[in-house]
Symmetry: C2
Subunit: 148 residues, 2 copies
DNA sequence: AGAAAATCTATGCAATTGCATGTAATAACC
DNA sequence: GGTTATTACATGCAATTGCATAGATTTTCT
């Protein structure tokens, strides 16, 4: 069972993962916490929240998102207008823009995050036990780590 | 290890799965097979392709997608204009519209699908062996099956 | 049967998205 | 050191998206 996978095995596993993700997202997206900020916008705040330095270039941030660079550029603009993020030129590279959470942004991210996490638990807990979740985490991390 | 999971465990597993999905999608989306049809449109053809009856109501189809109902309605319109799908009234429910693949649609779906599957394999094979992919499939299917 | 509620799709419209491209700054090359 | 290539972000513009809602049919309830 430790053989190198066939194309079919890879495709079927991916399909299962993808469908699982769609099913979860469809349910999560509609919940109350995403009324004031949709999931894409929340995802930006979330990613900024876990930046070690507290701020990130737009391009680096974009690596973690599925939206295009121009889209992120404008989303950052809107989030700034809402007072949730700050933009300032990168002192070490005049082309770049550093984005970081404002206090209000951090607070909103945490508030939404708490609800979000609670709902994730509600969806996953009936399906998998603690050990299975750990397995799932390990497998998906392995994939992420191996991506080119 | 078979305990009921904590909120944290659920959230961390979900985050790992989500990031894995984003990483995979970002790479897959840019490949040549999605030049003539983007992933969202391909996904519609794919879902129609595996409909047992060969056709599906818009609403049922929409269950498997992340786009909104009006968006799907218009996407179906565009796919019909391209000659890839057919729309006809549901004889058993005058409100509903049945969508199905045309021959051209089925052929395009298969052509894109072959490339797509090959690329999925390229991304997953270096990360997981055959048994691990089977585990991943089982875990994600369990989640899908348990969703409300 | 008839009224009220629910379901399925389509459409008006504003907002968001992506593509192609522009501008400015940095890196690479000779 | 100066030219070329690359990188980072912004912007014009057309296409797509979602929200709110309308229109039409079916289901439910009494």
């Amino acid at each position: 069972m430790a053989d190198s996978p066939t194309v079919r095995e890879a495709a079927e596993a991916w399909e299962a993962l993808f469908r699982c993700q769609v099913g979860m997202m469809r349910r999560l997206q509609k919940l109350a916490e995403f009324k004031e900020l949709n999931m894409r916008e929340y995802d930006v705040l979330f990613n900024l929240g876990r930046c070690p330095s507290g701020s990130s270039r737009l391009t680096d941030l974009n690596e973690h998102l599925l939206i295009s660079q121009p889209s992120l550029s404008r989303m950052a603009e809107r989030l700034e207008a809402k007072g949730l993020v700050e933009r300032r030129p990168d002192p070490s590279d005049q082309r770049a823009v550093l984005v970081s959470l404002t206090d209000a942004g951090r607070e909103l991210q945490r508030r939404i995050g708490r609800e979000h996490v609670r709902h994730i638990h509600e969806l996953l807990a009936p399906a998998l036990d603690s050990g299975e979740l750990a397995q799932l985490q390990e497998l998906t991390r392995k994939i992420s780590a191996a991506l080119p």
